[in-house]
């Protein structure tokens, strides 16, 4: 990694233009077997569906994993996407989570230029977003923020001003909000052929 300030590439909000209308969150419960992620990813690419973000993690039951995938429904109707996903033998259940009715979180790691002049401002910004400084260098800081995807978009737009060296986001994970009527949560049972 080149540490010259001149090599800093802006990886800010400019490349991401979230359009919440086009983006739907699918929570896909899959069997925890090798190659399952490849099957899901290949299905998306082969059928021409766009993935906006994708996160995969084990669940409390070690037979299953959960893939949280944000799909772009401009590329195909959501119904077709879920039906094709259901055809994968390893897919157990798919829930569509309405963004209005979801707890969504995402984690961001960023290495930011922060010399003596700007260091305090960067730290203040990170604090405002309830983030943490996780690594300290002489001219750079690595910071971590956990927030909703749109808050992270805001954070990104602000932090980019100081000069981003590197940035990583995990893609969102989401769960249904509690204590809400379930009508908005469409659940498609495992119909497969």
């Amino acid at each position: 990694m080149n540490s010259e300030i001149s090599s800093i590439v802006p990886i800010g909000g400019a490349i991401r233009t979230p359009n919440e209308f086009r983006h739907h969150i699918l929570s896909v419960l899959v069997e925890n077997k090798t190659g399952v992620l490849a099957r899901v990813a290949q299905l998306f690419s082969r059928r021409g569906y766009n993935i906006f973000s994708l996160a995969v993690a084990p669940t409390d039951d070690d037979r299953f994993s959960r893939i949280t995938v944000v799909v772009d429904v401009d590329t195909a109707p959501l119904e077709q996407i879920t039906k094709q996903l259901h055809k994968l033998v390893n897919v157990i259940k798919i829930s569509e989570i309405d963004p209005d009715d979801a707890i969504e979180y995402e984690l961001l790691l960023a290495t930011v230029a922060a010399d003596a002049a700007t260091r305090a401002q960067v730290i203040e910004l990170v604090n405002l977003f309830e983030g943490r400084i996780v690594d300290v260098g002489s001219t750079k800081l690595t910071v971590m923020v956990t927030a909703s995807p749109s808050q992270l978009d805001d954070f990104e737009a602000l932090i980019v001003e100081y000069g981003l060296v590197e940035l990583q986001r995990t893609g969102r994970v989401a769960l249904q909000k509690l204590g809400k009527p379930t009508t908005k949560r469409k659940q498609m049972k495992g119909k497969v052929s």
Binding site: T34, G35, L43, K87, L88, G190, K191
Partner: protein, 568 residues
């Protein structure tokens, strides 16, 4: 009982009732070929792994049982990719077993290593890489279950050499446990009732019958459904034979090269009752202009087909035979309220009368009219003859001019359109149904892609009959270049004499015949029919100029159907 992985595999196949496998051995699959020697399973040694795959497809279609192929790793696995893609498109139950390099060397670019499960992921219903010999019986059981239930299709088991050599304690799983795989077979009763009402009220209904009805063994129920409702039915390329062609309400093939009545009855219809069909672009033409006045009842076992191309007014997920049975019951209930559709039938009938398939029957002397050759083969054989075709003009003529009276008698590559399909598929069909006469209607181009499997046929004593409609061209492509590229013929000429098909046939142990003159057609067919101890190949010299009509030009609306040369 301790078994090696290889022994466990063969025993598992026996447990599944497998009688025949098609294959060719090699390094990574060697362990499996040893216990095969002691098995009751018949192995047919093909000359190219593509042949093994297509033969397994032909076997599956002729018998209704899953076809099985065993090949080695790397190049053998990639050679069988085409049949897998073909079987995936046409919903043919296939279990393909590939050897794989030892687990310890996977990922190191070992000799004959290929990422077989990765390569075949999108052209199989599911695939498995076995890493523990203990898993073999379970995976085989699952593989056959997935291949044969729901919407049938191909599956693949990749078996590393060290797993074949490892030992395991034999068991046979009593049941399959696949929590993510539960095909819906029973149609929703409310939807079925609604469908019955919609059918009863329709003015211009049509059954749009696809290959799903054949796969679901639904012919007999379909015939009852048509008889009860008196609604005409089109049978697609994959659905030919689902309703007998002799049935007065069978309109035959719709689509790009379908007949006028079949195409127009859908265009003018106010209700399409779609049975195990998927709105393939070769049927719909331009989708936006397809059957513009029709409501749609779509019945299919694959939920993803409902609404994929055309929005259904009534979607019904389920096994098409089971749903048709339920529909029959519901229709009986509303029988009194059936609308009189005799005018509609009359309209369709007049289309049939006025625009049948035609060719120049008055033509005498060489070259042969390809349609004439097909008609003669048809008339000199019984309804129990299995017809297998390649891909091209000859395929369309075979579908147009043959008379299919029963299902599973017509075997062709519809969805993928795989040249070279016919000869190996016919071998598989004949192996599965030795009691049936199997005729191949092939093109000269297609024949050259997989003809070497006739060596397999001769060696294994599989007496198929091959009619090459030798027009010296990649005829279908030639037709497009003539019609849409100003007769600028680019790389479509093949030559009628090179190869010499008769000598080639003889070199492969077949009887080779050549027919140039129409007056010799019958004698050659009869001679072929009389030979039952070896394959026969007939080189029919057909008219290079002949084109397939009617034709809906690609991307055009079905309303722009071109009936013949004059329509251009």
């Amino acid at each position: 009982m301790k078994l090696t992985g290889a022994q466990a595999l063969i025993k598992s196949l026996e447990m599944q009732g497998v009688e025949v496998v098609f294959g060719l051995p090699g390094g990574a699959i060697l362990p499996v070929y040893d216990p095969l020697l002691d098995s009751s399973i018949r192995h047919i040694l093909v000359r190219h792994e593509q042949g093994a795959g297509h033969a397994a497809e032909g076997y599956a279609q002729a018998t209704g049982k899953p076809g099985v192929a065993i090949v080695t790793s790397g190049p053998a696995a990639t050679n069988i990719v085409t049949p897998l893609a073909d079987a995936y498109m046409d919903s043919i139950p296939l279990v393909v077993i590939t050897g794989q390099v030892a687990t310890s060397t996977i990922g190191t670019d070992a000799f004959q290593e290929a990422d077989t499960t990765g390569i075949t992921m999108s052209i199989t219903k599911h695939n498995w890489l076995i890493t523990d010999a203990d898993d073999i019986p379970r995976v085989v059981r699952e593989a056959f279950h997935v291949a044969t239930t729901g919407r049938p299709g191909p599956v693949l088991i990749d078996l590393p050499k060290d797993v074949s050599n490892a030992t395991m304690e034999w068991y046979w799983p009593r049941q399959v446990s696949l929590p993510g795989y539960k095909p819906t077979t029973k149609g929703h009763p409310k939807m079925v009732r609604e469908a019955a009402r919609m059918i009863a009220a329709a003015e211009k209904p049509i059954f749009y019958v696809g290959g799903g009805v054949v796969r679901a063994h639904g012919s007999e129920v379909l015939t009852r459904l048509v008889d009860l409702t008196q609604i005409p039915a089109v049978t697609t390329l994959m659905g030919r034979g689902a309703l007998p062609d002799s049935h007065p309400l069978c309109l035959g093939m719709p689509g790009m090269h379908g007949n006028y009545a079949a195409v127009m009855s859908m265009q003018k219809s106010d209700l399409l009752i779609v049975l195990g069909a998927r709105f393939d672009d070769r049927v719909t033409g331009k989708v936006d202009a397809f059957a513009p006045y029709a409501k749609v009842i779509h019945i299919d076992i694959d939920p993803a087909e409902l609404g994929k191309i055309r929005h259904p007014d009534i979607p019904i997920v389920g096994d098409v035979r089971s749903v048709m049975e339920d529909l029959l019951v519901e229709l009986e209930e509303v029988r009194e309220s059936f609308r009189d559709i005799s005018l509609w039938r009359k309209e369709i009938h007049s289309w049939q009368e006025n625009y049948p398939y035609t060719y120049d029957r008055s033509h005498e002397g060489p070259p042969l009219k390809p349609q004439f050759v097909i008609e003669r083969i048809r008339d000199l054989n019984t309804d129990d003859t299995i017809v297998v075709s390649g891909v091209g003009q000859h395929q369309m003529w075979a579908s147009q001019y043959w008379r299919f009276e029963k299902p599973n008698m017509w075997i062709n590559s519809g969805g993928l359109g795989t040249m070279g399909f016919a000869v190996p598929a016919a071998i598989g069909a004949k192996v599965g149904r030795p009691d049936r006469t199997v005729w191949v209607i092939d093109g000269d181009g297609c024949f050259q892609m997989t003809a070497q499997e006739l060596v397999t046929a001769t060696t294994e004593r599989v007496p198929i009959k091959v009619a090459i409609l030798n027009n010296a061209y990649l005829g279908m492509v030639r037709q497009w270049q003539e019609m849409f590229y100003d007769e600028r013929y680019s790389e479509v000429y093949l030559s009628p004499d090179l190869p010499d098909y008769v000598k080639w046939a003889e070199a492969m142990g077949c009887v080779g015949l050549r027919v140039v003159d129409p007056s010799d057609v019958d004698a050659a067919i009869e001679k072929a029919n009389s030979i039952t101890d070896r394959p026969v190949v007939i080189d029919f010299r057909t008219d290079t100029q002949e084109k397939v009509f009617p034709m809906v030009p690609a991307g055009k609306s079905n309303d722009e159907i071109v009936l013949g040369e004059e329509g251009l």
